[in-house]
Structure formats: structure tokens, C-alpha cells
């Protein structure tokens, strides 16, 4: 197939890093801020950023409904951090009026790993990824509190305060989400994984 065109939601956040990572993973990458720009892409990345800001701007500029329609119609989407929150059907510790696009049957707790002083990086095994573990950079990061039956868990980190593990990467159908930021590491394997998802969806 031809090279897929993948948009990066560019309302706020680390858009540039995702554009670079997608280009390195052999996709055509372009920023998306308007409904007509969304209509032109095959798939979308929702970047890290401040989820309350991104959500508010998406509503104000008429993107929230088109985003939901595209997700319902099967458009592949990858969300990192704030983007994971945007893909969650349910969020905890959000603002009362905070809307999400939804699509993944999961409950995500915002800022679950704590404030910036608790932000961390660590090596994590990622299901289906060959080679070295992925370096997870977690910044005021959310975690997935629970998932529905149709959701595949791709990565977990040990909980700091007990025997449990925290879910930090999931996939449901054409939707992928990570609590952490592969776009900050220079390791493009997670973006390559997503580009392969986009190619498979187009077949």
C-alpha cells in the first residue's frame, strides 16, 4: 500500500516530537488542528500535553464530535499520556467538565503516578516488541485503573506501594495508548508498531 498519512493533534503538547518519530517510522506526518485537516488523514496521534487544555480546545474548535465519529468508524489512533486520557471511556481525577473522545473500554486515572517530583523513567517490556525493553518516560503520568474484556494489556510497571502492577500500555482494535512518552526517547519502535497497525487497518 502507499505510505499512510498520519496526523498529530496539534492543539497543544509535544507535537513536534511525534511528527519526527512518525517520519522516522516511514509515515507521512502532519499537524491537525481543524476538522478539515482531520478529514484528510488516515490515522491520528494524540500527543502528550495538558489533557484539560487539549480537551477544552477540541470542544471549542469543533473537533470533539468529528474525532468521535472517526474513532467509531475505525480510524487508528495512538494516544500518549494526555492522549491516553483522551482515548479513555472513563477518567478518574479529571475536571468535572472534562470530555474525552473515548473508544478504549478502560478507566484511566489522571496524574496517577504523582506530581513532577515523582516523574520517572524506567525500562519496560512491551508485548510483541523484540530487542531491548522500551524506555518508558512517565511525566505526571496517568495509569490504567481497569480494562474491559476486549482490551489487550501491552505493558505494566510494578506498583511502588504493593504487589500490584500498573497497566501503562493497552490496545483495543485500532486504538493504542501508552501512559509514557516514546516520542521523547529517540527509540521509534512504538511508533513503528502503530504505523504497522495503520497499514493493517487499510488492507
Amino acid at each position: 500500500m502507499s505510505t499512510p498519512t498520519i496526523g498529530v493533534l496539534a492543539l497543544q503538547g509535544d507535537v513536534r516530537e511525534h511528527l519526527v518519530a512518525l517520519a522516522a517510522a516511514d509515515a507521512l506526518a502532519r499537524p491537525v488542528r481543524r476538522p478539515e485537516e482531520l478529514a484528510e488523514v488516515d490515522a491520528l496521534v494524540m500527543p502528550g500535553g495538558e489533557s484539560t487544555t487539549i480537551s477544552k480546545l477540541a470542544v471549542l474548535f469543533g473537533l470533539m464530535d468529528p474525532l468521535r465519529e472517526r474513532v467509531r468508524a475505525g480510524m487508528p489512533v495512538y494516544g500518549t499520556c494526555a492522549g491516553m486520557i483522551m482515548l479513555a471511556d472513563k477518567i478518574l481525577d479529571g475536571r468535572d467538565d472534562q470530555e474525552t473522545v473515548g473508544g478504549i473500554d478502560m478507566t484511566v486515572r489522571r496524574n496517577a503516578f504523582g506530581r513532577q517530583n515523582e516523574s520517572f523513567e524506567t525500562a519496560i517490556p512491551f508485548a510483541g516488541m523484540t530487542g531491548e525493553p522500551v524506555t518508558g518516560v512517565f511525566i505526571r503520568a496517568p495509569w490504567v485503573e481497569s480494562v474491559g474484556a476486549g482490551v489487550e494489556v501491552l505493558a505494566e510497571v510494578p506498583a511502588a506501594d504493593g504487589p500490584d502492577a500498573r497497566i501503562v500500555a493497552v490496545r483495543q482494535g485500532n486504538l493504542l495508548a501508552t501512559s509514557f512518552h516514546p516520542e521523547l526517547t529517540g527509540d521509534h519502535r512504538v511508533h513503528e508498531y502503530f504505523v504497522r497497525m495503520v497499514e493493517a487497518a487499510a488492507r
Partner: protein, 303 residues
């Protein structure tokens, strides 16, 4: 400079990547000065990506005079409790104990700021010694790189805080961008002398020459009062803006704050900026910078 855990399973906090990465998440956004929980909520409602907690906005620091210091921990904690977005707070230049206190309060970023009265006229704080990341002001590339060498994880062009006049913000951002562009044109032989001229470490100078940008996020600050001001700074190359007195010294802070957020995202769309600029009520009055005596120019603080 960043440390990468390749084999270690232990999570690492406070790495350069985690500190700089936090600023990457703020890009395209507006960081607003607030003096209490109520203002912090207005800022969050308007779509701010973070708030800067301080006792007096720069316009009032100018008016009141005297020594300006770190804010009361109670007031900072009230703001932390009131909002879910990141909270920043200011320490005096070189006052590493104020910075230690701010870190212990759990603020998300420390601004070692010229808006407060400097505590040390020679040294800035050693910012590598902290888990909490720092943002620092700069008027030119050399100053920015000296702060990064000391551990700053984010830079803001200084402008002239509390004036409501964007002229100094433009001057400083242009200066930094022009000096970066100049470095891009240098060959390797010239970078050593450039480092000497800039009074900055050679390794950082070489990194900037290669990247064509600072190795950390660059915001603009000091004088933004309108949506068009914010969009101007973005078009000039700032990755986001700090707005201090401009919002809560204006007629309708909630409306102006939301308008500046919109104009910062759609900084290259004059129609959206025009819509955002309608019926905002009174802007802050503002000060002409050429009538400011040298001693009252905050941008001169820091070295």
C-alpha cells in the same frame, strides 16, 4: 547529559529527560501568573497548561517596591490543592534554600526569577542538585546556555515583566533566535571562539549549532497582554508563552485568559486571533519601557 537506564529496573526520578520532557508537554500552551486559589481556577478553566503561584504579580511588585521574595508556602499549597494542572513557583536568583523549600512543597517547576529581588549577584542556583526542574529567564543566547549549563530544563526569554509592553519580549526572543541562526552558519573551527564570545560551554554551543534550537524548550515572557501579543511571540519562534500581570490586571480576566489560550494555539490564523480579540474589556494599562530607569529593569538581573 541525560542518563538512560538500559539495564536498571529501578525507576529513576529527576533525570534530565524527565525534567526537560515536562516542559515539552507544556508546548503550545499558556502559563499564567496567579496570586490565589480563585485566580488559579479561573486560569485552569480558561485552558492554561500551568499556573505560576506568586504573592504579587510583577505589576504590583513594581508598584510596591521593596524586596520581593518567595511566596508564603500556605498560599502555594492552596493553589496546588485548588487545581489539577501543574503549579510553578518562583525563587530568587541564587536563593537555593527558597528553591529547596519549593521542591519540598511539591511544586512542578521552579522559576529562578529576575522578577524577585536577587539573593546572589554572582551565582545562580545549582539546578542539577534538584529533582524539581527549573525554568530560567534569558535575554540572549549566552545567558540561556549558562542557565542550561547550571541545569535549567526550560528557558523563557525575559522581556520586561509587569509592564504590559511586549517590546522587550520581542527584543530578547529575536536576539536568541538570531544568535542561534548565526551559529548554524559557523563551521567547526569557529564554534570555539563563538563559545568564548557567548561565555557558554563549548559542548552546548556545538549542540545548538547542530540542532538549530536550544536543547530545552523556549517560551516567551514579560509583557504579553493581548491575544495578538501571544500570537506574535509564537510566530517569532516561542514554543509557548508566560502571561503575568496581563490577565489579572485586565478588565475581564476569565475572558482574556481564554482568548490568549486560543490565540496561542492558532497563532498563525489571523481570523481566529481577531475573534479572540473582540470585546475583551480593558487591557492592563502598561508602561513605556524607555521611561523605565535602569535600576527598575528586571531583565538586567541575572548574569
Amino acid at each position: 547529559m541525560s542518563t538512560t537506564p538500559t539495564t536498571a529496573d529501578q525507576p529513576q526520578i529527576g533525570t534530565a529527560r524527565v525534567k526537560r520532557g515536562m516542559a515539552e508537554q507544556l508546548k503550545g500552551g499558556v502559563i499564567m501568573d496567579v496570586v490565589n486559589a480563585e485566580q488559579a481556577k479561573i486560569a485552569e478553566d480558561a485552558g492554561a497548561v500551568a499556573v505560576m503561584a506568586l504573592e504579587r504579580v510583577p505589576a504590583d511588585i513594581r508598584k510596591d517596591g521593596g524586596v520581593a521574595r518567595m511566596s508564603d508556602p500556605n498560599m502555594i499549597e492552596e493553589i496546588i490543592d485548588a487545581v489539577s494542572i501543574p503549579v510553578m513557583a518562583k525563587s530568587r536568583i541564587g536563593h537555593f534554600v527558597e528553591a529547596q523549600v519549593l521542591q519540598s512543597l511539591g511544586v512542578d517547576y521552579i522559576d529562578e526569577s529576575e522578577v524577585l529581588t536577587p539573593a546572589d549577584e554572582i551565582n545562580h542556583s545549582d539546578k542539577w542538585a534538584f529533582t524539581t526542574p527549573f525554568v530560567c529567564g534569558a535575554t540572549n543566547l549566552g545567558e540561556a546556555l549558562r542557565r542550561i549549563a547550571e541545569g535549567a530544563a526550560m528557558i523563557r526569554s525575559k522581556g520586561e515583566a509587569g509592564t504590559g509592553n511586549v517590546v522587550e519580549a520581542v527584543r530578547h526572543l529575536r536576539q536568541i533566535k538570531n544568535e542561534i541562526a548565526k551559529l548554524r552558519g559557523f563551521d567547526n573551527n569557529e564554534l570555539y571562539a563563538a563559545a568564548k564570545e557567548l561565555r557558554a560551554p563549548y559542548e552546548l554551543v556545538r549542540e545548538v549549532a547542530e540542532l538549530g534550537k536550544l536543547p530545552v524548550v523556549l517560551f516567551s515572557a514579560g509583557g504579553v497582554a493581548t491575544p495578538a501579543d501571544a500570537a506574535l511571540m509564537r510566530q517569532l519562534g516561542a514554543e509557548g508563552v508566560f502571561v503575568g500581570s496581563g490577565i489579572f490586571k485586565s478588565g475581564d480576566p476569565a475572558k482574556r485568559a481564554a482568548a490568549i489560550v486560543k490565540a496561542t494555539t492558532f497563532f498563525d490564523d489571523p481570523k481566529i486571533i481577531a475573534d479572540a480579540s473582540r470585546n475583551l474589556g480593558e487591557a492592563m494599562v502598561g508602561i513605556n519601557c524607555d521611561t523605565l530607569p535602569e535600576s527598575e529593569r528586571y531583565a538586567n538581573r541575572g548574569w
